[in-house]
């Protein structure tokens, strides 16, 4: 590990302050360009025809009438995309199968959910494109469908894939099913652990699929040259990944596709994979015109993946003193129409906050006739945490122990084994629980019909591939370019780390997100990795630049470069030579760049390791209206180990956002299907994310236990905050009404029914 990646505690000038974000003004004035804001001369409008059926075989598609409509320049179907090999590639946790992915982008043999794309057109106006969709004739053989995970697992369930044999079972089953995969992770001897327990607590839970709810629908603009080179403007969580996946789906060379990052109006994991980009590219190639596609909100809900729903059973065994001695969980996840729910994450994260000697997590990845699920903020972990933290709460109550004390007693520490093998290596969990215990909210008295819930949660966080370039301009200003899409204020955090390292003012640093032809590879802005991993690349690049600046100062002074150090934004001579060696500022050196060696630039690419996980603990106070079952969230406190907050306001914003999304997930958000398997609430009116007046001011506690493997101690902050939220709300509601709620969302009819004894 290079020394630049080691945390050293020192006084900081910029890190920890709260400057205005560099992308702030264009965003509040409406001038920032999002996916839908790009246009080109001669541009066509692309529209996608979607399946009206939850499950049907496509007998034929006749596009001739649409093709003949005046103004229509191209029509595409899956026949315009090359077939892909059936194989799972990449690490198991995030494995991809391009055979499935191409079918997600455009249906082939069958449509697998209502809203599944079956064809697309490009026309000179949106109206003509819409009219053309109505002229495409699709002959469907409607098939029985299955929506819920329990039904999909039944032996007589309609099969989405007639040849799908469950992976992960030895010997392999001889009959196909909708169960794509079974996984099992375990440590210790679970049966012996339960046998030694004084108390055993077990319960089953159900959660609904929920959407990420990003404000910006998917949107892109594509153009294709006759020599096979293409350009794409797209809003995504990673333009390098969109480039790779789109090129693969079209069967083109990555080098022939240049992707420009648009501003992104929210992603939360939902914009890690392409939906519209391959379609726009094919239509551009076929028509010879630039093609723009902007999805409607209804299309986003119906076609672009929600997070998985689940059915879970969790059991823990405890000793009378509150030690957890055994834990077991079964997690059945809806993958949607294509395998690939985050059930493995769920199994891995479920019991990770705790030091439990005997653990078994079993997961099932189950397909059904719903849109393919997509990642959503700590994908998988909030779902299993909801079940586990509910059971933990029940266990603490069983032995009349304070629920945070119970968690603290069992909390994982460095050296505690994880269920997937490696030992925990970082501090911070206990500190976070203690911080919440010390918060005044924890001891505030409650009134009638009110309840307080607490919960904790774990998330891996991520490192990985990032690139950064630092350019020193001739007037001493600094350009920082990275390949990392800015979802959450990372331009600010990266510029702040650059300003800190170089010793210049924050407003002298201009950060930018560069396109795929202008900077080295950057992986997705996902897994809470950008400030951590891209931050390391930025700091490394700054250090290289500093070496260059010091060498130039040495040249100006005619001294040995080893005798020059960078301190306080200046090159300083530390040698023994006599004479005048006034410190040289970055600007003073930059001005002389042409006579000291030319452009001052460094580009660094890293594959950052040394990731520290995220850990959060939360408190929620609610009041339940005993006559209506309505829940009012009175107070919400979220404490998270953030390592080191580079820009505390934006870190606090992440914590608040995670809690807000978790509260919505817990209380009202769900996909509601009719009997034909059609989604009935594909809009923000009836898909109820919380509005501002539904939420209290979410109080944040930034716990700073630095990551020793990052120059500023950064731990990823974007995701751990949503992990406990569902359970914190559920535990609060359960305490307020005096009975355990085991199904999300806890909508008023369900709560009222529970309060009325199931009637």
């Amino acid at each position: 590990m290079p020394d630049t990646m080691t945390f050293t505690k020192k006084e900081l000038r910029v890190v920890g302050t709260r400057p205005v974000r560099p992308d702030g003004v264009p965003k509040v004035t409406g001038l920032a360009r999002f996916g839908a804001d790009y246009s080109l001369p001669g541009m066509l409008w692309g529209r996608i025809l979607r399946s009206p059926h939850a499950h049907a075989r496509i007998r034929s598609i006749d596009t001739s009438k649409a093709q003949a409509l005046r103004g229509v320049k191209a029509v595409m179907t899956s026949a315009d995309l090359p077939e892909q090999k059936f194989e799972y590639v990449g690490p198991e946790r995030v494995a991809v199968n391009f055979w499935h992915m191409t079918r997600s982008v455009m249906a082939r043999e069958k449509v697998l959910f209502e809203g599944h794309p079956v064809a697309a057109v490009a026309a000179t106006s949106k109206t003509i494109a819409e009219e053309a969709l109505g002229l495409i004739e699709v002959d469907y053989e409607v098939l029985p469908h299955v929506i819920d995970v329990e039904d999909a697992m039944k032996p007589d369930a309609p099969l989405l894939f007639e040849d799908m044999i469950t992976r992960g079972i030895e010997p392999a089953p001889d009959r196909p099913s909708n169960i794509s995969k079974r996984i099992e992770l375990k440590i210790g001897d679970v049966e012996a652990g339960f046998a030694a327990a004084d108390e055993i607590v077990e319960s089953s839970f159900k959660t609904a699929p929920v959407h990420q709810g990003y404000i910006e629908p998917q949107a892109c603009l594509a153009r294709f040259d006759t020599d096979g080179q293409a350009e794409l403007w797209a809003s995504s969580q990673g333009h390098f990944v969109i480039r790779a996946l789109s090129a693969r789906l079209l069967g083109m060379d990555i080098g022939n596709l240049r992707v420009y990052p648009a501003e992104i109006g929210g992603g939360f994991g939902g914009k890690n994979v392409p939906y519209v980009e391959p379609v726009a590219l094919v239509l551009a190639r076929k028509s010879g015109h630039p093609v723009k596609i902007v999805l409607s909100r209804e299309e986003v809900f119906k076609g672009c993946g929600p997070a998985a729903g689940s059915i879970m059973t969790v059991k823990i065994g405890i000793k009378k003193d509150g030690r957890i001695v055994a834990a077991a969980g079964v997690f059945k996840f809806q993958a949607g129409a294509v395998p690939g729910s985050p059930v493995m994450n769920a199994c891995m994260c479920a019991f990770s906050p705790y030091d439990i000697p005997n653990v078994r997590s079993v997961g099932y990845d189950v397909v059904s006739n719903r849109p393919k699920t997509a990642a959503y903020r700590a994908p998988g972990s909030p779902i299993s945490a909801y079940a586990v933290e509910s059971v933990i709460d029940m266990a603490a109550a069983r032995i009349s122990m304070d629920p945070l004390q119970f968690r603290l007693k069992n909390v994982a520490k460095p050296g505690t084994p994880t269920v997937w093998g490696p030992k925990h290596a970082h501090e911070g969990f206990a500190e976070t629980i203690r911080a919440l215990m010390q918060h005044p909210a924890y001891t505030t008295p409650l009134n009638k019909n009110q309840g307080r819930g607490v919960a904790a949660g774990y998330w891996f966080n991520n490192g990985g591939e990032s690139s950064a370039a630092v350019h020193i301009n001739e007037d001493g200003t600094v350009l920082v370019a990275t390949g990392s899409s800015d979802l959450s204020g990372t331009r600010a955090s990266l510029a702040m780390m650059a300003a800190e390292t170089l010793g210049v003012e924050f407003d002298k640093v201009r950060p930018t997100v560069a396109d795929t032809a202008s900077i080295g590879y950057g992986h997705l802005s996902a897994g809470s990795r950008t400030t951590f991993a891209t931050g390391i690349a930025v700091v490394e690049a700054c250090k290289k630049v500093i070496g260059n600046l010091c060498a130039r100062a040495a040249m100006i002074w005619d001294v040995n470069a080893e005798d020059v150090v960078w301190d306080g934004g200046c090159a300083r001579y530390t040698g023994k030579k006599s004479g005048e060696f006034e410190p040289l500022s970055l600007k003073a050196i930059a001005v002389k760049k042409s006579v000291t060696g030319g452009p001052i630039v460094a580009e660094v690419s890293v594959n950052a390791g040394g990731v520290a996980p995220g850990f959060a603990a939360e408190l929620c106070d609610v009041e339940v209206d005993p006559e209506t079952g309505a829940v009012k969230v009175l107070r919400f406190v979220t404490a998270q180990d953030v390592g080191r907050a580079i820009h505390p306001s934006y870190v606090e914003g992440q914590l608040q956002g995670g809690a807000a999304q978790g509260i919505g997930w817990a209380l009202n958000e769900e996909y509601i299907y009719d009997e034909a398997g059609r989604l009935t609430n594909a809009g923000f009116l009836d898909y109820r994310v919380p509005v501002a007046s539904d939420l209290p001011r979410i109080e944040t506690v930034l716990v700073e236990v630095p990551n020793p493997n990052h120059p500023f101690g950064v731990k990823g902050v974007g995701e751990a905050n949503i992990v406990p939220s569902l359970a914190a709300v559920a535990n609060a509601v359960s305490r307020a009404i005096g009975q355990r709620m085991t199904e999300l969302p806890m909508s008023p009819p369900k709560i009222l029914k529970a309060m009325n004894g199931g009637r």
Binding site: E130, E298, E627, T628, G629, A630, L667, N668, I672, T680, N681, L685, D686, R688, P690, V691, S693, D694, S747, P748, P749, L752, K753
Partner: protein
């Protein structure tokens, strides 16, 4: 599609009766434009009535108020005398969408859209409003509780439009209130709505009452049985319980994505009772 913005009622009626295809009246457009964008309606003619003075005015009439059908929700909220006289109607219009939407949306549009869950309709029914209608065969009046006939269906004949509403003179010691149940605090559609309007005598006994429920049937309901539970009482706990029971008994809701049948029936009584309590407090405050 043709768009016309006549300055007089007569011109508007002439346009509507001369239309070949589907003609629609455009007031705030907060339902119509969404329906057009979603492809549910594709009118050949849009007649924008916002330029017609009598349809956008709030006037005193016989001690009561005449509201133009194209008066926006924000116009009402900001009209001090109206807001003081009819706080229950204000409760209702304040719940319609965001401030921006309320700046466009109109009470006439809310009625003519004929959603069973319209917020202003139960409040206007409780207020005993009458509806003034103009059409090719002249002008007529309709009781507001008879105006909506089912989801998306109204008593309007072809070529007719709603021009205004008349709210009667306020009695002494009277008050109204509207409450709805929604899972969210705002930006939502009523799962159940309840409007209550009552008047007390000098001894605090309820002499008149009207109770209306929204989102519990194919249209907003006037519930005389619920009103009868209040009349002659001091609106005490027992009377309120009878009101709640009568309100629940009047419901004939459906199960849908917004609520179950059983939930709506239970909640209707609760909302009616709570609305009556607010109306009572307001009646006691007024001289």
């Amino acid at each position: 599609m043709r768009y016309e913005a006549p300055r007089t009622l007569e011109a508007a009626l002439a346009l509507l009766s001369s239309a070949n295809g589907q003609a629609r009246v455009l007031a705030g457009g907060t339902d119509l434009l969404i329906g057009m964008r979603a492809g549910h309606v594709a009118p050949e003619l849009l007649v924008d009535v916002k330029g017609i003075t009598e349809m956008t005015s709030i006037l005193a009439e016989n001690g009561g108020f005449r509201l133009g059908a194209a008066v926006t929700c924000m116009d009402l909220v900001e009209h001090e005398a109206f807001a003081k006289a009819w706080p229950g109607v204000i409760d209702a219009v304040k719940l319609i969408g965001s401030i921006q939407v309320k700046g466009r949306a109109t009470v006439g549009g809310n009625l003519c859209n004929a959603s069973p869950a319209a917020d202003s309709v139960p409040a206007m029914i409780a207020a005993d409003a009458s509806v003034s209608i103009a059409g090719p065969n002249g002008k007529r009046e309709e009781r507001i509780e008879n105006f909506t006939t089912g989801p998306g269906k109204t008593a309007l004949a072809k070529g007719e439009i709603v021009t205004s509403f008349l709210l009667p003179r306020r009695l002494p010691h009277s008050g109204d209130a509207y409450l709805r149940f929604t899972p969210r605090t705002e930006m939502d559609i009523a799962v159940v709505g309840a409007g209550v309007n009552l008047a007390l005598d000098d001894g605090g006994v309820c002499r008149q009452a009207r109770v209306s429920l929204g989102a519990v049937a194919e249209r907003a309901l006037l519930v005389p049985e619920a009103a009868a539970a209040l009349i002659g009482s001091k609106v005490d706990a027992a009377a309120l319980e009878r009101l709640a029971a009568a309100a629940s008994a009047a419901c004939r809701p459906i199960d849908d994505k917004r609520g179950t049948r059983e939930f709506r029936i239970k909640i209707a009584g609760v909302m009616a009772r709570r609305a009556a309590e607010i109306a009572l407090a307001r009646a006691r405050e007024t001289s």
